[in-house]
């Protein structure tokens, strides 16, 4: 839903990091995107590509890893949600319960990441 504003924040962090490290260009960006966020990966990449035009990031390869949602429940269960379909916001509805005991509000321990893990940069020859 809010891919553009998320892309703006990621773009600013990526560019700032690249410039602080005297990058000549950014060759790749590794990101994690949790499946419980309301962010569409294709739209996020599209927004980042639009923002990257004319910048150090223009030719960078944008890698997004979709991180699965995991829960830790009071019953002791720790792991993924049980589902027979790919877990998407569109078919989540009541599937967010603990698959072991049925507790509808287990602690979510992963799946909410919108994270830039690292970037690869080419260094300026003068440095």
């Amino acid at each position: 839903m809010h891919e553009y504003s998320v892309a703006m924040e990621l773009y600013e962090v990526i560019l700032r990091t690249a410039m602080q490290n005297n990058a000549k260009k950014i060759t790749s960006v590794d990101m994690d995107l949790g499946e419980l966020t309301h962010i569409n990966p294709d739209q996020l990449v599209f927004c980042l590509e639009v923002l990257a035009k004319g910048s150090l990031m223009e030719d960078a390869k944008l890698n997004i890893v979709n991180t699965p949602s995991k829960v830790k429940c009071d019953c002791g269960y720790e792991g993924v949600f049980a589902t027979d379909r790919p877990l998407m916001i569109s078919n989540l509805t009541f599937n967010l319960a603990c698959p072991e005991c049925g507790n509808p509000v287990p602690n979510i321990i992963s799946g909410k990441e919108i994270n830039v893990r690292n970037i690869k940069i080419e260094l300026d020859d003068y440095v």
Partner: protein, 220 residues
């Protein structure tokens, strides 16, 4: 030419959480209880905030942050009650975030407030991901959105303290089962408090006012 890898480790939602926590500490320092009021367009957020100001304004000092693509219209409705109002024109944003709220807090007379009512942008999806520094999270839906609106938006109900099913007086006219909406909310989040309200049925608003009053007790 050499290529190196640089660790970044910046998480958008974590960064927002950190800022939200700072807002929360700031509000705590002034003894202010903040309510993040979320819900779809037309669900009745502005009206329920107006009713809260009318019914509690005599006992508590209330401030309002109105968030919208164009926030002036709602802000002007609140200004009629002579309370401090900050209109946050989010421009392109579909939700308020902790930074926007921080900017609003800088402009509010925090010394003179007990309650801060934050009207989020009309949307059931994006605001679910963003904390603002509030003490209580409230989601409002109306029967005219269809009685499957709750089960279609589980994330926001998971994260809220109070769900309000509004405009129940027109349930029959729009063919919606308000009780189904209540039970859906409780299935998604058994610890959520759920109220059925309608501006047309005055006493149904009491639960909303009592919820705010009960939230104030931590400082009394």
């Amino acid at each position: 030419m050499c290529e190196i890898e640089v660790e970044v480790g910046h998480d958008v939602l974590e960064a927002n959480e950190e800022l939200a926590l700072r807002n929360h500490h700031l509000l705590n320092g002034f003894g202010i209880i903040a309510f993040n009021i979320m819900g779809a367009i037309g669900s009745g957020k502005t009206t329920l905030i107006e009713l809260a100001i009318e019914m509690l304004g005599g006992r508590y000092r209330i401030g309002v942050i109105a968030g919208d693509i164009v926030a002036d219209i709602d802000a002007n409705r609140f200004k009629r009650y002579d309370v401090p109002v900050i209109a946050m024109n989010t421009g392109k944003e579909c939700h308020l975030d902790a930074l926007l709220v921080k900017n609003a807090l800088d402009q509010l007379p925090l010394d003179d407030l007990d309650i801060l009512l934050i009207e989020n942008v009309g949307n059931l999806i994006c605001p679910a991901d963003y904390s603002l520094g509030e003490s209580k999270r409230v989601v409002i839906v109306s029967v005219s959105e269809g009685d499957d609106i709750v089960e279609k938006h589980p994330m926001i109900f998971k994260t809220c303290d109070l769900a309000i099913v509004n405009k129940v007086d027109i349930s029959e006219a729009v063919g919606a089962d308000a009780d189904k909406m209540v039970s859906d909310a409780l299935r998604i989040n058994p610890s959520i408090k759920v109220l059925k309200t309608s501006k047309k049925v005055g006493e149904s608003i009491d639960g909303w006012i009592e919820f705010i009053e009960a939230s104030m007790n931590v400082y009394e």
